[in-house]
Symmetry: C2
Subunit: 370 residues, 2 copies
């Protein structure tokens, strides 16, 4: 077995999920993630944890979801019992076709999602972590051959996470101390201001110990004060929303609400998101990518939004971890991340002080104050 | 998709497991059974059942079982919760290597089996059915190319089960009425007599409605009165016990107990079985194969023991379904089936009347009374 697969499994089990002897673990295995599943199984065995392996195949899901009638979806009470009795959930993504479920009718998808709400909540109550095994299908989505794609994925995942957490703490501390964030990128007509007063930033260091549930991670994120968002922003990193390509989405905010939207491609897709509910027209997240192992866009949100030199904003639901005790944040059934490239003629200001310019942070060599 | 896969899935779901709307179903998917899993998912969706898919990979199990220390195996309480909340369990066998777990130490296997006892019982309390998808690995074990192997498997599985159940009822009725069974095969020095007084034969027609949990099935089986077994029998169908090949196992019984054993190959393996516990030296089952879709030995017990023209006996545990109300049968941690070919110079007598000779039953054309 490729040593990197073993290291990936150990990072997932030890750093990310903090697995201990006696833990009941659910490992969900996508069609292409078999080799990672073997390595995770060995790591769990060594640590004295007790695993249960589920088969998370897109093709199998598609067959079930298309065949069932939307009225017939029941709560999967047996699955709920499984998750309620589990301490840790590890999702090993990596399929054989990123479009495997593309023809499942939205109505079936939504009916299933409603029936599975309690299961989803029970999963979120565990020490859950999502990661991916680098399959040919994901390499293809990234426009890359499989070997360089694997190298890319392991560069993103096999990092010195403790060191990155320390570096990210510098940004978290500045964000926690700041009142106002401003993002400026003249080439894309971006100038957006928002308040983070009383908000708590998450130092997302790929570990449940940091309230972080993705491997790779490597971002610092917070929740804007909902009504405070003013200005215009263009998201120039191409991506997909519900399977549809979007490019150069442009949003204008007044008093925290989207009052105008446009896109070079996929304007319909963004329009549908905005129409989900009232919260979907407001921002739930501001995130700043800090993972330098991710040096290119690969059409995979798990990686793209963590890329150093990007900033992302999410329409919709805010994470509780960012809110002051007792406060409630933006609520919505949607949470859609949109990404800006900030490596070229772009800056991020906290209370008027530039902390990031053209891909370099204020504490790094080569940072230009002006 | 091959129509036979769809038909296999529908036979499994409708005939075998009697799935109904609202059923909570666990589908356990072996590494090579993906295509059957897709078809089963569609059939379950159409019937309004709610599935949960588990990944039953030999390679993943091996990795876990080898890495864990025997003292560290805990009851998988999350898995127990899953099965306790389930109505139906469908096991879709069919791996990529029949020897995938060959190097798991017996001590680890046994420790895991002990820790999983409650899970096993909970699974047996559901409408469970085991079947297999015809993989290249199973074709290889059968010494066959994959296409003819697939044809063989579907001949065994896609039968008119209701018609076979009716045919098998003739043997069940005769066995239920009989006191003494005698198996004679002079060429292999076989002459064994046992009592089935008060025993109830199972008409194993591949459906939970018949107390039958294998697809394919097609056998009638009962439990001998334990102390009644007398004589000698040679099992001339080659097979494997715990991964080791055995050939021409020969057992001699006195007062129901094995007093002598030998084998042309694998005498050690059979010796270990006999030493498991006191019940392992006694018979728990007499089964008579009646599936004419199975016309050759393929080194797979699920098929071999159902082959028309064979009789099998199992050392160890008896099935409760064969015992009179309140009676207890032979108890043992072992249940090891051993198979005799009865197509050539062999006969089966019930109370002195020949009911099967050289592969033909008394009610069939070509049966020779003498």
């Amino acid at each position: 077995m490729d040593d990197r697969i073993r290291e990936h499994a150990e990072t997932l089990v030890d750093w990310s999920a903090r697995v201990e002897a006696g833990d009941r673990v659910v490992v969900s295995v996508d069609e292409g993630a078999h080799d990672l599943a073997r390595a995770v199984a060995a790591a769990l065995g060594e640590r004295g944890a007790t695993p249960h392996f589920t088969y998370a195949s897109g093709e199998v899901s598609r067959a079930y979801l298309r065949a069932a009638s939307p009225e017939s979806f029941d709560e999967p009470s047996h699955e709920l019992a499984l998750y309620e009795a589990s301490d840790v959930v590890l999702h090993l993504g990596g399929g054989r076709n990123t479009a495997a479920t593309a023809d499942v009718p939205g109505e079936h998808r939504q009916a299933r999602a409603r029936a599975s709400e309690a299961v989803r909540e029970a999963r979120f109550d565990t020490r859950w972590v999502s990661t991916v095994h680098p399959t040919r299908s994901l390499a293809q989505a990234a426009d890359m051959a499989v070997e360089p794609y694997r190298a890319f994925v392991y560069d993103a995942i096999l990092r010195d996470w403790a060191a990155l957490a320390e570096e990210m703490a510098q940004l978290k501390d500045r964000l926690d101390a700041a009142s106002t964030v401003r993002l400026v990128a003249p080439d894309t007509d971006t100038d957006l201001e928002l308040s983070v007063e009383d908000r708590v930033a998450v130092n997302s260091a790929a570990s449940v110990a940091y309230d972080s549930h993705n491997l790779p991670s490597g971002e610092v994120f917070t929740a804007p004060v909902v009504d405070s968002v003013e200005g215009t922003v263009t998201f120039d990193v191409p991506q997909r929303i519900n399977g549809r390509r979007v490019r150069d989405v442009r949003l204008t905010f007044e008093d925290g609400v989207v009052v105008d939207h446009a896109a070079a491609q996929g304007a319909d897709a963004i329009g549908e998101v905005l129409d989900t509910d009232a919260g979907a027209r407001r921002l739930g997240e501001l995130g700043i990518g800090m993972n330098r192992g991710i040096d290119r866009v690969t059409d995979n949100l798990l990686f793209d939004e963590k890329m150093a030199g990007t900033v992302h904003l999410a329409l919709g639901r805010a994470y509780d971890a960012c809110l002051p005790e007792g406060a409630s944040g933006n609520e919505s059934a949607a949470h859609v991340d949109l990404i800006c490239d900030t490596t070229d003629n772009a800056r991020l200001e906290l209370d008027g002080e530039v902390v990031h310019r053209n891909g370099t942070f204020v504490w790094e060599d080569g940072f230009a104050a002006e």
